[in-house]
């Protein structure tokens, strides 16, 4: 009896359902924007702009999704971005090897190294000393922000020539471009950071879906005690999730620098909360065990699109953007709560 209906499609899991909802809402929102606002939204470049401007946010949102699936939280990601941006900017402005093309590689390694150090440190405190992740990553955030200003209180602009090239470098796709008023074809432009961000999304998807570590993270978030009994090294899994999020924040810092080549004390301020919001909108539950980076990607896009819509509307002002994002987040949170509790009731009967 059990074997025969194996072919039958399984009903959507909670995570899949929530992700589907957010993709649906993103598409609906975008189509409405195309119809009512037209203009920029009709060009493919609009999507690429959203991606280019938010590539760092996509990366740290993935970082948060991984940690949140494992049942943790990491609010240091924005701080780590600030620190890496400042450190890399200062390094690239140095002399000797830093000024050459090799300097860029070393700067990238520096960014990843800073992220790794934060990930290892926080991961150790959370998994092996069992300290509350919120407090640990709060301390991580303070530390990163403090170190940033210790490095330099004043803004630091990157003067490195080779890096300047990297900042300007864009992938051009002619057939997605548009014809400007003067009749020239302007190809669609994609920044390197966007490519990196997309790669991160794909890699994290594969990690969470097909690599044992990824599945162990789900198990950990689903039920820590059970994961332990199932023979999973719970501490190491938890530790790894923080290391991944740390390294990703370092990478996000480098991507940020490629987008805006200057460090200052307020870089990516409060972006950790945007990343958490994006994860949640994409269907990740803070309680752990449920979530998916594809959803998170659309979470970022939803937040970015709202801001763009407000910017193009008569309400253009930062406070309206904030209020709209807040309202959107509230809408998703309540929607999820209602959807999940209805499913719970159905499953019970």
């Amino acid at each position: 009896m059990s074997g025969k209906n194996n072919r039958r499609r399984e009903p959507l899991t909670d995570a899949q359902l929530l992700m589907t909802i957010s993709i649906g809402i993103f598409v609906a929102m975008y189509v409405l924007a195309m119809i009512f606002l037209g203009g920029g939204f009709l060009k493919a470049q609009q999507i690429f702009d959203l991606l280019n401007d938010n590539s760092y946010l996509i990366i740290i949102s993935c970082a948060l999704t991984v940690v949140m699936i494992g049942g943790g939280i990491n609010i240091s990601v924005g701080g780590v971005i600030g620190l890496t941006v400042m450190a890399c900017a200062l390094f690239l402005n140095g002399t000797g090897i830093a000024a050459g093309p090799l300097g860029i590689v070393i700067a990238l390694l520096l960014a990843l190294g800073i992220g790794l150090a934060f990930g290892v440190g926080m991961g150790f405190l959370v998994s092996y000393l069992e300290i509350q992740p919120f407090i640990v990553s709060l301390a991580g955030m303070f530390l990163a922000r403090g170190l940033t200003t210790i490095l330099s209180v004043n803004p630091v602009k990157v003067a490195h020539e080779g890096f300047g090239e990297l900042v300007k470098a864009k992938i051009k796709i002619p057939f997605l471009g548009y014809v400007a008023q003067n009749g020239n074809l302007i190809p669609a432009k994609i920044e390197i950071g966007t490519v990196v961000a997309i790669c991160v999304v794909i890699l994290m998807y594969l990690l969470l879906r097909y690599v044992k570590l990824g599945r162990n993270i789900y198990a950990l978030g689903g039920n820590r005690q059970s994961a332990l009994m199932l023979g999973i090294n719970v501490k190491r899994t938890c530790f790894s999730s923080y290391v991944i999020s740390g390294v990703l924040s370092g990478l996000a810092g480098f991507v940020f620098l490629m987008h805006k080549p200057a460090g200052n004390a307020s870089v990516a301020m409060r972006s950790e909360m945007d990343a958490i919001a994006a994860s949640i909108i994409g269907g990740t539950l803070l309680t752990g065990g449920v979530g998916n980076v594809i959803g998170t990607f659309f979470g970022v896009m939803i937040l970015a699109t709202i801001q763009k819509i407000i910017a193009l509307s008569p309400l253009n002002a930062s406070w309206w953007q904030e209020m709209a994002s807040g309202a959107m987040l509230g809408f998703f949170i309540i929607l999820q709560s209602v959807v999940l509790s209805n499913r719970g009731k159905k499953a019970k009967n």
Binding site: I73, L125, Y128, L129, E130, I131, Q132, F134, I135, V136, L138, A139, G140, M141, F142, L143, R145, G146, L147, T149, I150, V153, A265, R270, M273, D274, I276, A277, I280, L286, T287, S318, W319, W320, E322, M323, S325, G326, A327, L329, G330, I333, I334, S337, V338, S341
Partner: protein, 356 residues
């Protein structure tokens, strides 16, 4: 075994924060005994006031201590933290100023009335958070993320772009000192809120109910407790705390800046709760721990300032001290240390036996 131990010593939870405070005091004593000197000076409104680092620590920690008390209740009842207190505090301030501006005159009664309106509005905002948490069963941090991200915009929307100046002896009496009393008024505000909560604890069952709901909501309900009401109550009380802190914050500067009023206080308040040895997962709690936590945080900041650390860099040093405190408070570390201690002791005992 260990749980028995913890239950029997009421001081247990406060041990680590007390030690931390002691070490900070000792450190300052060794570094520069003048840190503790208390003097009398005349401030710019012509009042005699006590000065000195200790006074300034206790004074500046007031907003934090008050909010930390409310945060403790929310943490205990809901098993999560409210990260929107700073942003909602900006709203409370905006409402306060709006009402005062509507009256046109800043007098005792108008301030009182404005405070009442501000408390009321703040409670409403907190009940919005509370409803999401208690009725829609959303994790507190997520539920309060909404107002965290748009609260300051709402404050802006209420009061416009300007940073209204409020010059009034009444407000400076609240934010600084009352003429004739050399102790800063915010300290009295903390005492007042503390006393109020103590009275509420004495004459109601809020402590037992809150802990029951925080530990086992289902069981609490089957014993006739209404978990939704208790959670909403904890948010409402936090609202009162936030509104009072906001009044102090506005009065201190004599102006409203919706961007900086009580900024980042949510993080410090959560820290205070954690440093005070309270479980951020809810359940059993000690208000005294959180208050102690608030003063430790301020003591740390003031110490760093006294050591000529630039204000923008303070965060880094603060982070290190926080990490040390939470490591010391970690059950894993405590278990390891006590095991090591036992080993040492038994080793010594064995050695002394051999000698004997």
């Amino acid at each position: 075994m260990s749980s028995k131990k913890r239950a029997s010593s009421g001081l247990g939870q406060l041990l680590i924060p007390l030690i931390a405070l002691g070490i900070l005091l000792l450190f300052n004593l060794l570094r520069d005994p003048s840190f503790f000197s208390i003097g009398v000076a005349v401030n710019n409104s012509g009042n005699q006031v006590l000065t000195g680092n200790l006074i300034s620590i206790i004074d500046s920690a007031s907003e934090l201590a008050i909010i930390a008390m409310g945060m403790t209740l929310v943490t205990a009842a809901c098993g999560g933290q409210d990260i929107s207190v700073g942003a909602v505090g900006a709203i409370s301030g905006a409402v306060l100023v709006k009402v005062l501006q509507a009256f046109g005159a800043i007098t005792g009664p108008t301030v009182l009335l404005a405070l009442l309106v501000s408390i009321l509005v703040t409670i409403l905002f907190k009940l919005f958070n509370g409803t999401l948490v208690a009725v829609f069963r959303i994790q507190p941090m997520i539920a309060t993320l909404i107002l965290y991200s748009c609260g300051r915009s709402i404050a802006y929307w209420i009061n416009g772009d300007a940073t209204p100046q409020l010059n009034s002896p009444i407000l400076s009496a609240i934010g600084m000192t009352i003429p004739g009393i050399p102790v800063p008024t915010p300290i009295f505000c903390v005492l007042l809120v503390g006393l109020l909560l103590a009275l509420i604890f004495k004459f109601t069952n809020i402590s037992l109910y809150t802990q029951s709901v925080g530990i086992n909501q289902g069981a609490a309900r089957l014993n006739g407790i209404n978990p939704t009401a208790i959670k909403l109550l904890s948010f409402a009380l936090l609202g009162v705390c936030v509104a009072i802190s906001s009044l102090i914050g506005v009065s201190r500067l004599g102006q409203l800046n919706h961007k900086t009023l009580l900024v980042d206080i949510e993080m410090d308040a959560i820290l205070a709760v954690a440093i005070g040895g309270n479980n951020l997962g809810g359940g059993k709690f000690k208000l005294s721990g959180s208050i102690l936590g608030a003063y430790i945080i301020q003591m740390l900041t003031t110490t760093l300032y006294a050591m000529k650390v630039s204000p923008v860099n303070v965060k880094a040093y603060k982070a290190i001290v926080i990490i040390i405190i939470v490591i010391a408070g970690s059950p894993v570390v405590q278990a390891k240390v006590s095991a090591l201690w036992k080993k040492l002791r038994s080793g010594r005992a064995a050695a002394s036996k051999e000698v004997g």
